[in-house]
């Protein structure tokens, strides 16, 4: 029963692409703030610098193709790609990491397919995976969150600036970096439980020091997007549920070698992936049933790769693998149009 009495005319204002992208960027603000509080100014600097590179790259390609430049820049999709990539890479990564990742994301993964709306893969994640495979060292050197025991304050603004752009000897950074919680767990779980229990990045936390706050912040931002009806609940809920159930199952079987489900759900990039990356309307499945399958399979792949694969965090790979399944999922979950028979799928009968 509706208590609000609304009178006509019921005019709906369609949402522009620009508004959608803007709201998604607003949604990342809590996560960005927490990352900045815990890891220093690096992420914020990367976001701003990355956005500039992304807009420049997009403008360059559009100019080469003689397309209206301002029209595409104004939709804000290039900036969103840059923001998501900057949130995913380590806060102290040197400037050329951002440049390589953004150029590949914007030029190859997005513009070669004809720009926004046609790209089969999430550009930010293509950029991230490219960087992870090409520069594994730079992409896995995270400084520990400043809540970690025995870690001094996170780098100040000028220090972060120097780490990213300066000609600081990169070996300096080796002294302050540590393996991420997921990485630590992967290294010691099942073979060296003493080391695992004493690892400082896991002390007194439920999903690695600081990381639970990062994930909760992204969860809050994600709920804002659901409330604003920018995304629907299907993909995040399906993805987190399947990850949680799988992790729970293996945790019950063998708690020594598998992390507990909360660790998986609030660790690493799970929430960023669930609400901001997997829900990308261009590369995800679009029907509700398709979205549920898509989300659940991402959760499954994240768990499989995290638990048995070669990479500590798997959100990017899982999203890309499902991006390439999305058209097939759509094909099989096409809803029946009202008044029509169910669409044919499979091999035509002769």
């Amino acid at each position: 029963m509706s208590v609000l009495h609304v009178t006509s005319p019921h005019v709906r204002k369609p949402m522009t692409t620009n508004a959608v992208m803007r709201h998604v960027i607003y949604g990342t603000i809590p996560g960005l703030a927490v990352l900045t509080l815990l890891f220093g100014w690096g992420t914020l600097i990367n976001v701003v610098f990355g956005s500039l590179v992304a807009v420049a790259a997009e403008a360059l390609v559009l100019r080469l193709r003689n397309r209206p430049i301002l029209f595409s820049i104004k939709d804000g999709s290039a900036i969103l790609t840059a923001v998501l990539l900057a949130l995913a890479i380590p806060p102290t990564s040197p400037w050329w990491i951002t440049v390589v990742g953004i150029l590949f994301a914007i030029v190859i993964a997005k513009q070669l397919y004809g720009g926004l709306g046609s790209n089969p893969f999430n550009p930010a994640m293509i950029g991230y995976v490219l960087l992870l495979i090409s520069f594994p060292l730079e992409m896995t050197t995270w400084i520990p969150a400043n809540l970690t025991e025995g870690v001094a304050a996170s780098p100040s603004f000028s220090q972060s600036l120097a780490l990213i752009f300066g000609s600081v000897d990169r070996t300096v950074i080796d002294g302050i970096t540590m393996a991420t919680p997921l990485d630590t767990f992967k290294t010691y779980a099942g073979n060296d439980l003493d080391m695992l229990r004493s690892a400082s990045v896991l002390q007194g936390s439920i999903a690695g020091v600081g990381w639970e706050w990062v994930n909760i912040a992204f969860l809050v931002g994600g709920l804002y997007l659901v409330a604003r009806k920018i995304i629907t609940w299907h993909i995040p809920v399906a993805m987190v549920t399947s990850l949680f159930l799988l992790a729970g199952l293996f945790y019950i079987i063998d708690p020594d070698s598998y992390a507990d489900p909360i660790f998986h759900v609030l660790g690493g990039g799970t929430m960023l992936g669930a609400f901001f990356i997997a829900t990308d309307p261009v590369t995800a499945a679009t029907s509700n049933k398709g979205k549920l399958i898509y989300g659940a399979l991402i959760g499954l792949l994240i768990y499989v790769i995290r638990a048995w694969g070669g990479y500590p965090d798997a959100v990017a790979f899982a999203v890309l693998l499902l991006n390439l399944c999305a058209p097939t999922i759509e094909y099989y979950t096409q809803p029946r149009a009202y008044g029509h028979k169910k669409a044919n799928s499979g091999i035509a009968k002769s």
Partner: protein
């Protein structure tokens, strides 16, 4: 039991014949323009791959090895594959004339699909010692091939209507997409240590 699972996961995902070992690329690019064709091709290739893998193993274990003529394996495998493909062609022609017409030249071309010969030779090279293993190896390779072929075809149908820059239209963007797919499949690396 678990070793059979390992063979399947390894051949389907970790060492996918198309995206990781780059075998069988010509039907991958050639028949992936339409989803239906790709499905038909997948079925035919699955049939041929599984059958020829088993037959090659039998030929090797019961004819070539006892006679001490292992060096003849390449040529005898080619013969076995050609026979299997000819047989498949006859079956498809009888059961589904439409599919036969749609697949066209690609059906006999399975003979020269390097994935088929590759699987037969790799099975022997790996020192497979049981019939079941050879069967699973062939079947896994075929499922891996079919999986990426179908996913790729569904993606290409979408890319075909996209506003791709002129120089990248058609096969070029297909190649780029295949490369990006391969990038995504690298996520499976390390999943199984063989």
């Amino acid at each position: 039991m678990s070793e059979f699972l390992i063979i399947l996961v390894s051949t389907i995902l970790v060492n996918n014949f198309v995206l990781v070992q780059f075998l069988g690329l010509c039907p991958f690019m050639g028949v992936s323009n339409k989803l239906e064709t790709a499905m038909g091709m997948s079925l035919a290739t699955t049939f041929v791959l599984t059958l020829s893998s088993v037959l090659s193993y039998l030929t090797y274990a019961y004819i070539l090895e006892p006679l001490g003529v292992e060096y003849l394996r390449t040529i005898s495998f080619i013969l076995v594959i050609a026979v299997t493909v000819q047989f498949t062609e006859m079956v498809v022609k009888k059961t589904s004339p439409l599919l036969y017409r749609v697949l066209g030249v690609f059906l006999p071309l399975i003979t020269s699909n390097c994935a088929v010969l590759g699987v037969a030779l790799l099975t022997v090279k790996k020192g497979t010692d049981s019939f079941i293993e050879a069967l699973l190896y062939g079947f896994g390779a075929a499922v891996g091939f079919s999986l990426v072929l179908i996913l790729f075809a569904a993606m290409r149908e979408r890319i075909a209507v996209a506003d791709v820059p002129e120089p990248f239209k058609g096969p070029s963007i297909g190649m780029i997409t295949a490369g990006l797919m391969s990038l995504a499949f690298m996520g499976f690396s390390g999943l199984i240590k063989l």
